[in-house]
């Protein structure tokens, strides 16, 4: 998000909610959309109306967290929900605490506790099996969306790598660096083989997209199975 975009949204949020808020913050997110956090005072009433006003200030696809001051700890809790929501939530507290910007009010970042990485990994593996297998893998194969499926699985493996790196205290990763960082921190031949084969799958254009999609699912399942052994 550009500085101008951040300032424009910040202006709208402050104008609409400044007198009800203790703090308004922005955070970058390397894998997905950057987002905003609006922390209302604990004594606000009619929070549903405030949430409505806040969401009117922010583009639909931009993540927005609305909460009261006393609910700050919730930002660090794991969630078991749709895959895309979990993907953008897992690292959010890290980026807010370390790279977030205060747009209005007090700087609450020092009071923000970081998540338990073991719980974040458990939730991420959970939704990557439970929801992704049904809603993305079988559905993608059924609808013959082979290339889209391969791309989604590549992205999901990277997301899972990033979450696993939290076990080693590494949160500052990007889509470009995550595979290398993961290989350094998890020198496991199975992971290495899976990622090498997946990378070959992406570069070697096959005429048989169906076969390539099945290969991608096979590699994804091997990756998940191996990752589970580190999540115990």
């Amino acid at each position: 998000m550009t500085t101008e975009e951040i300032e424009e949204i910040a202006g709208r949020l402050i104008n609409a909610l400044g007198d009800q808020s203790e703090s308004i913050l922005y955070y970058p997110h390397p894998f997905g959309a950057d987002g905003f956090v609006v922390i209302f005072r604990d004594d606000v009433t009619s929070i549903v109306d405030l949430i409505a006003d806040a969401h009117l200030c922010v583009p639909t696809e931009t993540p927005l967290y609305c909460l009261r001051r006393s609910e700050l700890f919730e930002l660090s809790l794991p969630v078991y929900s749709w895959v895309y929501l979990v993907n953008r939530h897992v690292h959010m507290a890290y980026w807010l605490k370390h790279e977030g910007k205060v747009l209005f009010g007090s700087d609450i970042r020092a009071q923000l506790e970081l998540p338990n990485p073991h719980l974040m990994l458990a939730s991420h593996i959970g939704v990557s099996t439970h929801y992704l297998r049904s809603g993305i893998i079988l559905d993608g194969l059924h609808r013959k969306r082979y290339l889209e499926l391969i791309e989604t699985l590549k992205q999901q493996i990277k997301m899972l790598m990033a979450t696993a790196l939290l076990l080693h205290g590494q949160w500052n990763v990007t889509a470009e660096t995550v595979a290398d960082q993961f290989e350094d921190s998890f020198p496991d031949p199975e992971f290495k083989q899976v990622w090498n084969e997946f990378s070959r799958l992406l570069t070697a254009r096959s005429d048989d997209e169906h076969r390539s999609a099945l290969e991608a699912v096979w590699l994804f399942e091997r990756f998940i199975k191996q990752l589970r052994s580190y999540a115990q």
């Binding site: 409505a52 078991y80 559905d139």
Partner: protein, 251 residues
């Protein structure tokens, strides 16, 4: 053509037969849950098919078996989608060693004969479990998941509601009321099915007022009722925030 419960039963029977025939010994168990398992099918409305398909571990270590299993499962999806019955998402597949990693949020569905049933093979439900971390995630999920509904709040402010807005509002409300009360129950260590979630919460949290969100699943979308729907949305979001506050004060 009128859809009947028998049409659903035939689709389920074909589904099981197809998997059995192709997967043979690699198929361990098929567990049915959801409205079909609860005998609460609404013909023409209920989806096909909420099921857990358990496969032998070897399927996930032998590439040839793996590819064959996926061809079979995709064929099963194709057949389900062609039955003419509502079909929104495929069933779920798991390996045998994942019996120790069932989705903790939904374990109630798998621990009661009233909520699930064995369609084929071993009754693996007694072997199902989850780790402490998975249980902790399930118990904490309500707090973040409740924010799923926040983007819907913009409809409380929109001047002119369209039919599309009304559809999105009602679908969003139904989704929130389907999942969040169950998640709240898990937070309170209450294992219950979807229909009993709100009654169970009312017992556990006597000050909770759910009157305004009862019977919403029966509502339909009409533009003439746009303002009613807007009030239903407000009531639902307020109910969820109230539920959240009570869970926190109960913790």
């Amino acid at each position: 053509m009128t859809v009947t419960v028998d049409d659903y039963q035939r689709a389920v029977d074909d589904f099981v037969a197809g998997l059995r025939e192709s997967l043979g010994d690699d198929l361990i168990s098929i567990i049915l849950y959801g409205s079909l398992a609860r005998q609460e099918v609404k013909p023409g409305q209920s989806d096909l098919l909420d099921a857990y398909v358990y496969l032998k571990n070897e399927v996930f270590t032998d590439k040839e078996k793996f590819f064959k299993a996926f061809e079979t499962m995709v064929t099963a999806c194709n057949k389900l989608s062609l039955t003419g019955l509502p079909y929104q998402h495929p069933f779920q597949y798991w390996s045998e060693d994942e019996l120790e990693h069932i989705p903790a949020l939904y374990r109630a569905h798998l621990e009661s004969d009233a909520l699930s049933t064995v369609l084929f093979g071993k009754d693996v439900r007694q072997q199902m479990s989850c780790t402490e971390a998975e249980l902790a995630v399930a118990k904490l999920s309500f707090f973040e998941a409740r924010r799923m509904g926040h983007p819907l709040a913009i409809y409380l402010r929109k001047q002119e509601l369209t039919e599309d807005d009304c559809e999105k509002m009602l679908a969003g409300v139904k989704l929130l009321l389907k999942f969040l009360p169950q998640m709240a129950c898990v937070s309170l260590d209450i294992l219950t099915g979807p229909n009993q979630a709100i009654p169970s919460l009312l017992k556990a949290l006597p000050d909770l007022d759910a009157a305004s969100v009862q019977n919403i699943e029966k509502r339909t979308v009409t533009l003439a009722e746009a303002e009613d729907l807007r009030e239903i949305l407000r009531a639902t979001l307020s109910f969820i925030e109230d539920l959240h506050d009570k869970l926190l004060s109960n913790a």
